[in-house]
Symmetry: D3
Subunit: 300 residues, 6 copies
């Protein structure tokens, strides 16, 4: 019997061929990388993550027993338009494109894309969001080499603009060199920081418990910077920091977040030119699939 094996899966995320943005969940790529401060190439993240997701098309999630590609109401709307060479205008365009979508699962692109996504979502939900951020960097610098809107300032603005409720915000996996003043500013706002060393020594269950406690019962957002993973697990990224998570650990945390009222998510900073054997793209695809299965298990 002639069939299409995994290697010839159609190119949408999880092989999804539905393109209209009216679904309960919309996948969209956001190929922006002009605000990155070290290695370039996150523009190619969306297509690589889609390609890598072919491994996750067939079969149910082995914990939630949901089969996102087969049973959930998901479309892949393709990539957002951006403005070449103009970060400010690109962020405005991204916000406009995100606004009408019901529940966006965004594939970056640099972390800078999260700011307009939070702006659009804040309007939709009508209140500040809870936020769990997996990352090796705080991303609460007030500017990056002179640029206020680049990928290291996303959460400075998100806090400053009231998009996120700092008491319901938790950063997991932090470990880069950082200005102590930046960290103190972040803590002073009420944000919870779980450093990588602490997370790795205490284990996924303890981390998940803290994350759940911080997020509470309000609407929440998941922003997953792939550099939260150790470079061994995610070499294909722009600002790698050694000393991070193994992928199984972030899966173990995510699987324990049932009941959180997630309203959107992104996985960002995949730079395929620096990847090997698609391992970073597959990790990113798996994170988005974990998120979908988590919500699908709750009837999402």
């Amino acid at each position: 019997m002639a069939l299409i094996p995994t290697f010839a899966t159609p190119p949408g995320f999880l092989g999804i061929e539905r393109r209209d943005p009216g679904a309960a969940f919309t996948i969209a790529g956001i190929p922006l990388d002009i605000g990155t401060t070290n290695r370039a190439g996150a523009r190619d993240g969306p297509s690589a993550i889609r390609r890598a997701s072919r491994m996750l098309v067939d079969g149910a999630h082995p914990h939630h027993w949901v089969e996102p590609a087969a049973t959930m109401d998901i479309a892949d709307a393709g990539d957002f338009a951006i403005v070449l060479g103009d970060l400010a205008a690109s962020l405005a365009a991204i916000e406009a494109q995100a606004a009408p979508l019901k529940h966006l699962v965004a594939l970056g692109g640099e972390h800078g894309v999260t700011l307009p996504l939070l702006r659009a979502l804040r309007k939709r939900v009508g209140e500040p969001l809870g936020l769990v951020q997996f990352d090796s960097h705080l991303d609460t610098w007030p500017e990056n080499f002179g640029q206020r809107l680049a990928h290291g300032s996303v959460f400075y603005h998100a806090l400053d603009e009231g998009l996120v409720d700092p008491r319901r915000m938790v950063q997991v996996g932090i470990r880069s060199p950082m200005g102590r003043d930046v960290r103190d500013w972040t803590l002073a706002r009420g944000v919870t920081i779980i450093a990588a060393q602490e997370a790795l020594e205490t284990g996924p269950a303890a981390v998940a418990e803290r994350v759940r406690a911080v997020l509470g019962g309000g609407p929440a957002y998941l922003s997953f910077d792939i550099d939260a993973l150790d470079p061994a697990f995610a070499p294909g990224t722009g600002t790698p920091e050694v000393g991070g998570f193994a992928t199984w650990q972030v899966q173990a945390i995510l699987r324990r977040l049932g009941g959180v009222r997630f309203a959107g998510m992104d996985v960002v900073e995949v730079a395929p030119a620096h990847d090997v054997a698609e391992i970073t793209s597959l990790a990113a695809a798996t994170v988005a699939w974990e998120y979908l299965a988590l919500l699908g298990a709750e009837g999402g």
Copy 2:
């Protein structure tokens, strides 16, 4: 103005989003590689060639002044189904899927796929085809390590079954080690062989003239094994042979084939796992684009 730059081109060949197979030209991937005798991975050729083709979406061909993606009637039907682990059944399935298409531009996959494509086309046109084969190998061995249907026997069967008119068949770029008996058999059938060294020393214009003379005025087929190019230009292939063409030389030959009554073509043996910086995939995409522009310039 927010737009989709080249790097975010939709995933069809030349960014083509039309999928139905009713167009004047149909692109289809054929992800078969189980008959390859050396390095594996041609199954991933179609998706890599499509991705690389994004460089060829915008603008007209600089010789034929045709813009295939914008002005020609082309669909990308996706990949053909195959039968995992069964070469004979896969070839039968490929023939069945090719049969209804008006004019197929096939993206391989191994060279073995050409046999069922010729079988289907022979039936459609009602007479033996002319054939120009770019290749480093004769591919007229009667068998390959015990397998009659693998990629080194394609044209043995094509000749044996009368799919191709040997007096209208020309092989260009031949240079691998070969059994002298195999070569003598091929020549005895009336096939024209232009060895790589001869082609490289006489230049593209002379080669094109010979090819045109052999093909004559009947219906013809172009089968382009990417290993016709030197491994420097096409490292991403399974059975590389040094001493081949530079890409500009095959372009110079193809551009001189106006007037030939082409009825179909394939570009095969792209194995992306062995490629670097997409150069092999881009060369293959360019060959298909040259073919389309050549025919488009003649109102094809």
Copy 3:
């Protein structure tokens, strides 16, 4: 004094130059990959594993204090013949070649090769085998995209044909998406499944204890799919799944399996074209070396 350093080790496994298959242990490569469902290239696994094994030639195992290359009765018989493009015929040929060997350590090649190896071994030992399978996939699907014999159905047939005693069979590291019906069928037969998350949270000692308990005292087989390791540790494989073992963890399990009556083993699914710096090949070579040293320490 002029000598041959590690980098110039002769090309047999562990530098072994003895080729005849009459030894107590026979290493053989099985370069089959035509039943793989995602990335190709496991055909090149045997040569890459042999090359990588040069790091393990000199010196004793640091736990078992056995020096396999120097003191055990081992030959490297080279690679098995296969039938190009024909999975069914290849499996038959593999079984025939395995049958006369005393104790085979097979270097894959895809996981599909395990089925004929179990068939041959079942005949030799005269009873169903115990089995410990390291893998991210159950491999008990009844078919794979229409092909009954491909690499995802190995243990469906092994159970169905009575080659393995399901009550003495344990799968370690399972984590891929899977049909719940396939899992339920497997469990219903009596097979023990240790999911990756469970194995990673409980640790190697607890896993080893369970494995030993399941295997019991009868003859047993070790089938090690390299994708049991996380892609960070084994990128060079065809169907990677994130969230797997670190290599030290599988070593910690294997070293605790003393006393099990192993009658054969394989390490499969190494696809060198996707590897980096030989790390996957070295991991696979190390698994085979751990197995040899384990048995050598018991006078094997």
Copy 4:
């Protein structure tokens, strides 16, 4: 005798440790890539070109018999500052930094950097410049996906602003798909276009003669987009086009440009993340070294 071999050459271009910008020739990197339309990463071009240039430190040029690193007055001023995520502001900053330099040899970075370099140089020399542009693209599009300042519009602006004398401007190696209107506009201004196919068929000597004739006796500029080379010779670039030059051919052209009154040059679009074995970086370093040796041979 303990010495520093080639592999430990200090990190300046040609190992040059002088950093002040007061030299007769100043090397500077311009790590801009936010206006690139396809693959990213030209920001890393300067450091990679410098590293690759270690092969050119010792010994004289084999045609001009000049030893640039040893006998010419050259400094390496490091990299220019840019404005992250803001193309327009970056171009302004580049112009300001280029203005005070006597004779700049710029290492890109994307081709967009040439516009501010020409603006600065036009002011310095007081008249429109002659220009020889090696490139696979015209780069005279009025805009790029909505962005007027990106790398495909450099020479549209250079012509539009009167920075370059179109009758003294020649483009060599052109071969990408292109709008026929864009080409016609360029030709209508008086620019000479030498297509890649034409250049490859007529040979370096004929091309050099035409270039010399177009440039004439006034001040001239060399802008070398590394994608003028075929991707086989320069895979590490963002917008590759097959069918280009071999490196020896551009060397053969450049060596015949003695007597041209060059006032500055750049080599751009090296994207090291896509390179292999430094071959693109070495080609770019060699182009800059050819330029220096050409001028050094004339007492420059």
Copy 5:
């Protein structure tokens, strides 16, 4: 505001531009690799580690809250001269160049460079040194394929020459195949060996405690062979052994070594040609930065 982003950091370690060797800490590369027994290329380690260190320039260490590049007295003296093709003469040259430096942080190069560094430091401190060696190999073989001075004999000589106090010497991460006689000889001298499996099962805190206990209060040296890390975390090395540390674990150990009287350190065996996405180089740079921050936190 135009600035130099991370990607254009000047090429010294941590972007340090001070070159004179009179600083409190001197970084130096030692590009020696002619005594390596397996894969070559450690000669390129110093330049790759420097380049990768750009990620660690800005911001304070997240545990010690020291910012080495900004606040410590550090110079980067470039690379040491060596004698091509002559290991004995190279070691003598290295010792001579190390002798006048106050506190050397050496970037290898193969592990063989540690011997002359210890010889120079032994003279400077006037007593045998304590030593903590992270490594997968004992490196106490009396010779390596006939060569007494190659990278596997470093600590044989260090012990034999009285450079190191064996009771204050601890080897962490040992796991390669090894001669039992070599291990017994090492233990008999009083050296402490912490095998990789033991270290991984007991965790970083326990290991750090043992290391501190062994090192005691006298002057000590840190020699970090990057192959102490698992190949997943450090593929770019010459003699990889699977089953090693994750990077976070060695960071967790190093951060607990406050109070040890370190007098020098090296990080060796980085072979960039085998690296992927700079992860090995970044791990090595991070180890040196951890060391500097540890000492900086104590006013070093």
Copy 6:
């Protein structure tokens, strides 16, 4: 029928399993690279060239119609022993191992190995040899960064010791930066130098004619440094220089050297860690196979 396809060819050169050195032709690897001045790794050349040669096992040479693996008297003796870290001692050991062989085809390893091979051959033939050297470098420097015996001095010594007759010595493809004094010294000895640009502009036939004229009728040696090829065709080498040969051109030259009385050959400087898709190794294997077929066609 189960058979061994190309991908499972046994590991000897051309799959040759005969190992004794008594054959008419002996293949031997010489894994030396400690005298290389830029990138390392030629030690891995022999094993990579052997592996790549599997493409050349089956079938006759398409010009000479000889099938070396099947019909010539060839053994593959494995790799020579060397002395780790000691260039002088290694050269002595190489000479001793080469001395008893009838006709050696050596696979390098760095170019330094040619000196002891010429010393041994000079003794065997009893007169100075003719020499054709394909190379981008003269290799007649009197020393290399203080080392007299490294790879850039091979032919200085060969001339100085009277191993080669300078009037019968021709260097083809020269193009690196070079000391004019070194070149003048070489020319003054009577050596013929054919620069790369000259060779490329005049074509293979003219070059071959000059080579034949220089070599004359006496015993001759072929030394082929793979960097004679352009880095596009041979990226996997240590001291690349752009502007070199395409592989077909060197084949066209070699095929015209019938009648030369060759007494030995080497192909050197293949560094697989820098290769892509085996193209350099395959080019090197092809050069050795061209040599064998040339001699085989003359009954050699």
